[in-house]
């Protein structure tokens, strides 16, 4: 399968997701990209099946007294695309720090 060619910002977002950052605000903070870039890019990545999204379980969010978030995770194709993007843009690996658990 051919890995899709990603723009620099889409590659950065995919890299952030593959490092464990999993929702819009967090990705904005860690990549420094504006909201107008991050959210449409997440939609495009989801449409291209490089990313899948799911809602946080309601009881989990309720226990923490906050609304449920929409979480994104990288699919198998997305992982291959992230790897190809890291080879194409080697600096990507240094731009996004590993997520501290």
């Amino acid at each position: 399968m051919n890995t899709p060619r990603l723009s620099h910002s889409a590659a950065l977002i995919l890299k952030a997701l593959s490092l464990g950052y999993c929702f819009g605000l967090e990705i904005m903070e860690v990549t420094g990209l504006p909201s107008g870039t991050v959210y449409p890019a997440l939609r495009r990545l989801e449409r291209d099946e490089l990313v899948a999204s799911k809602w946080e379980p309601e009881d989990e969010a309720l226990a923490k007294q906050r609304p449920a978030r929409r979480y994104y995770e990288v699919t198998r194709e997305g992982k291959a695309a992230a790897l190809a993007a890291t080879q194409r843009y080697p600096l990507l690996a240094h731009l996004v720090p590993e997520k501290r658990s």
Partner: protein, 286 residues
């Protein structure tokens, strides 16, 4: 992906500015995706305010405005994607694109300040050439066209012909204008050469356009006129003389499929449209 039930969610206390922005922008989002979009953005805004409060920053309108750009672009993306899914490959988009090219060629003619007198003379010459172009394209159209009796009630056939007539009319119109636009600069110095070249250019543009129109017409669903998709190869090329071999294209709305033979044989000369029997769908509901 299921949407969490709003009844069980904790109350969202968003500032009035946020609520207003959400209410205004939600109208852009296609209706089927609206509930999820609102829920998503309510959560994102809530988390943004909550995080800023925890970090000791007072949530400001500037911060919300920054996120508002994101929610606006997100809503616009959903709207354009919905249009893309609806109109991509449709007859409306095809006619609109041809209309756009026609409009562009009119604008070019206006910008080049072509005199109406010169345009009328070129128009009469092109009027002579147009039936010839049509005759040549109809006479030399690929033989593997759809069988004439294939697919359709009277109304469907009429729609198909009207669509083709619309395409033909647009193609002839913009071919004429584009050829006039192209040789207008030459007209001042070499008027006779420009006139001859204009007719040649018109014939060339119209022939290319009409070839495309025939091909496009063949590769559309005979019912909804959407472009057929998902081409699949069927049969083995090495068995060409023994069994059917070619490719199949299907209508994404499930109206039928078009079988295009790889090569013309005495028993399979033309493309064959196969209607999907709606009786199977009805049987499934029983």
């Amino acid at each position: 992906m299921s949407l969490p039930s709003p009844n069980t969610a904790p109350p969202l206390q968003l500032p009035a500015f946020d609520r207003t922005v959400l209410r205004v922008i939600e109208t852009v989002v296609p209706r089927p995706e609206r509930a999820e979009w609102i829920r998503n953005w309510q959560a994102e805004l809530w988390h943004m305010h909550h995080r800023r409060r925890n970090q000791g920053n007072i949530p400001t309108i500037a911060a919300t405005t920054d996120l508002s750009i994101g929610l606006t672009r997100d809503a616009l993306w959903l709207r354009t994607d919905s249009w893309r899914r609806t109109y991509s490959g449709s007859a409306i988009l095809c006619q609109a694109s041809l209309f756009g090219i026609s409009l562009l060629s009119v604008l070019m003619a206006l910008l080049l300040k072509i005199s109406w007198h010169a345009l009328a003379a070129e128009y009469y010459r092109s009027l002579v050439a147009a039936p010839l172009v049509l005759f040549v394209t109809f006479a030399t159209a690929p033989r593997r066209h759809i069988e004439p009796e294939a697919a359709g009630r009277m109304l469907v056939r009429m729609r198909r012909r009207l669509f083709f007539a619309g395409k033909t009319e647009h193609i002839l119109f913009f071919s004429f204008l584009l050829s006039a636009d192209a040789f207008e600069p030459l007209h001042a110095s070499l008027p006779n050469v420009a006139d001859v070249m204009q007719v040649f250019a018109f014939v060339l543009f119209a022939l290319i356009g009409m070839r495309w129109a025939f091909r496009d017409q063949d590769e559309r669903c005979k019912h909804c006129l959407h472009t057929l998709a998902t081409p699949a190869r069927v049969g083995r090329p090495s068995h060409n003389l023994l069994e059917w071999n070619g490719s199949e294209l299907t209508c994404k709305h499930g109206h039928g499929r078009l079988s295009v033979p790889e090569m013309e044989t005495s028993w399979c000369q033309s493309s064959h449209w196969i209607d999907v029997d709606t009786g199977w769908d009805e049987a499934a509901f029983l």
